[in-house]
Symmetry: C2
Subunit: 450 residues, 2 copies
């Protein structure tokens, strides 16, 4: 809330903001419009690829399985031989037939095989060990003759070469996400894909501003007029949970409320490897609006909006600026109030991060939630913090999301974020509608698991 340089005269204070109040949807559209998609880069196939969007079609380089493999522990047979007593002519373990290359199974004989073992040529089915009996073993205890009790169909219990994935088969389409559930990583690895082109995840710098701020680990008691910088840890947490593969570079220090301090720290962030710079504080109403002024006048940034018709987050500012190499950097100047900064991350920054990382839809997931109680509407459209419970009751046709408010929604009150896992997108009050009622259904942006 600092209105210009502390040492500058204030008589020329602007008493009304120069920035129009832009509706949220329009502001978000502007963010998305000016956010570049990052250029795909080569990535190793490993767990660190989770959550990335593939920039190429991925095809199987090797078949899975790579050989005719038994699905069970048992005996490889020639299915037309049928039940009966047979000599055990060979044994195949998974991975064991490197040296002793399997010889062709002759009619009237069987081969002992384990799950995953190579089925010898000639055999066309495998009988489970449970469906057999030992008839004779030698003096070393090795099986000599075994009774096959059941009939098996041709191909039964055998995985054919390439049955799970054939060579050249398109296994994951360009534009797909590598799921965090683990399937795609395992799938790519299984077919010999060790590297893929994928969209990188952005590098982010967080810069807190304010003369009053001290590091968040400063122990109590803290004497006035100091305030702990809580935006750094709360934004870091939000980034790590929503975009775990983004790199966060902490700014070297909090910016002081001087144009020079802001300029120096912003300039070095712009010239760093960061793709995105998140600042908090110093954007509220004032004669010089220091953050905006430094961005526009000293750094040559283009400010796309400087105020948004929303609560919290009215002074939220979004700019783009080119670094010395002509590379576009995004600057999100969020309000200093702790809740405003965090909400601003979810509703503006996260969609931009998703677009940069190649997501087809930049929008964060939302559900329709049912209000557990009435809510008084604010004059501004509001992102109202709630705890949503997924309630599944017998006889219900589907799971319902019931939304419980988190108390006073003041933008300094971090307690309103406690337990919150969603943001209701409430309209501003109108002459007709001043409150929403229990049971009303509202769109809710999901910000954490329930």
């Amino acid at each position: 809330g600092l209105s210009g340089d502390l040492n500058a005269p204030v008589s020329n204070r602007v008493r009304k903001s120069l920035y129009p109040l832009v509706p949220y949807d329009q502001a978000l559209a502007s963010v998305i419009e000016h956010t570049p998609v990052l250029s795909p880069t080569k990535h190793n196939v490993s767990e660190a690829l989770a959550g990335h969007i593939l920039a190429e079609d991925v095809k199987a380089l090797d078949p899975v399985p790579g050989y005719r493999a038994s699905v069970v522990d048992g005996y490889a047979v020639i299915s037309t031989d049928g039940p009966g007593v047979y000599p055990v002519a060979q044994v195949q373990y998974a991975g064991s037939n490197k040296e002793s290359k399997a010889t062709r199974l002759q009619p009237g004989t069987i081969a002992r095989v384990t799950t995953g073992a190579m089925v010898p040529e000639g055999a066309d089915a495998v009988v489970m060990v449970e469906d057999t009996e030992l008839v004779e073993s030698d003096s070393n205890g090795e099986e000599v003759q075994v009774r096959i009790i059941v009939s098996v169909r041709c191909k039964e219990n055998i995985r054919e070469i390439g049955q799970d994935a054939a060579v050249g088969e398109l296994i994951i389409e360009k534009g797909s996400s590598v799921s965090a559930a683990g399937g795609e990583v395992g799938l790519m690895a299984s077919v010999g894909v060790t590297e893929v082109m994928a969209y990188p995840h952005p590098i982010i710098t967080i810069l807190s501003t304010g003369n009053e701020l001290v590091h968040f680990s400063t122990p109590a008691p803290l004497a006035p007029p100091f305030v702990r910088d809580t935006n750094l840890p709360s934004l870091s947490t939000a980034i790590k949970s929503t975009m775990p593969y983004c790199t966060i570079i902490a700014a070297p220090s909090v910016a002081k409320d001087t144009q020079d301090s802001l300029y120096t720290l912003l300039k070095s962030a712009i010239e760093s490897t960061a793709n995105v710079i998140i600042t908090t504080g110093g954007v509220s109403m004032g004669e010089a609006d220091m953050m905006k002024g430094v961005l526009e006048q000293r750094l040559g940034a283009q400010i796309w909006f400087g105020r948004v018709l929303m609560k919290p987050g009215k002074p939220t500012t979004f700019a783009t600026v080119k670094d010395a190499n002509g590379k576009t950097k995004l600057v999100f100047s969020l309000p200093g109030n702790p809740v405003s900064a965090l909400v601003g991350y979810y509703v503006f920054v996260l969609p931009a991060l998703r677009k940069m990382a190649g997501y087809a839809s930049p929008h964060i997931s939302s559900v329709l939630a049912t209000l557990a109680h009435s809510i008084q509407l604010d004059s501004r459209p509001e992102f109202y913090r709630v705890r949503i419970n997924a309630e599944t009751k017998a006889g219900m046709p589907s799971t319902r999301f019931i939304a419980y408010g988190t108390g006073s929604q003041m933008s300094s009150r971090m307690l309103s974020m406690r337990g919150a896992n969603a943001l209701l997108k409430l309209p501003g009050a109108s002459d007709k509608v001043k409150e929403l009622k229990e049971g009303d259904v509202v769109e809710a942006y999901i910000i954490a698991d329930f």
Copy 2:
């Protein structure tokens, strides 16, 4: 699927499994029963605390705000003075009044203040700058007289000391989760809490077993009889996405299919710092069931179940074993089939990890999903991989989850995990019900975002 030591005779092969087929719910209950909750430890308050469960009530050590703070940029006034022209008697910036301690505001004067600045004693409200006019400034351009246009109520635009959080106030209850959304971390930091007691997240070792296995980064073409170890990267991905603060220690190597190799690697995992050991492979039907045998006979582990009536994952085995210091280690011996291993992680290991980490409910989240198409039931209850879309249509009372199958559900077919974000919990087929129909509603375990 290796049935005993490669060098041992097999005449004493057990042709029916010794382990009863246990229903899934009973098996899970047994896992939960034998899983200890880890002892709380001290944690720094930072983004690394996200997802942890607090083991103590957390109370505010400092009030927020720590001083009477202005909510806006404007002028601190004595509300009863009312509109009019007033001399600007002092200026207060956020963080600026360390040296120049604010002097009491006298009636008939006003103080210029910025958002977050300390409101001088005597003042009882703040007027926004937008609701004022400059009347006179001095030769340096500093404000001398300002017109207050509006009336303000007592306390308007002032945050009282402790209004957002009072000293000693219970801000987060014991047993609560530190949300990944960022609120709790910021909240604790704001009130001066720098350390808390919380449940640690378990340390996990992953041990793949099988003579056929080579490292997953082995480039194509891969000659038979080798298979890439894809369970290591897929399980690592799943752990990192569901429990990002668990530590994963990769086993020094894949275990060979010999009792000695298994024993050596398991023993060193048990005596390591790991709380949980996940093995894959070597648990299927056979005369000696090597993994189970080594666990029970050579390591003195207690096997709680060795087979589960489910698909995939029939041979899933769960054991506990004490290390040399008497500390209980959990051993999940999952089947080698890539899908079986991954599904086993979600339905057995993850609930155990959650219990160890202090979660009130160990169960992973589930929703009721509506089938997009009919599904043939297997004879065994099945965890059927699906992609769930949250579909929100105008006029619908709530979001519905529509489940689309991922094709053939063979447990070697990793493609069935591609795009999957949920596991349907299907019953086994009965004489009456052999398939579920489009539109039927089924419980679905969520394994990734939609």
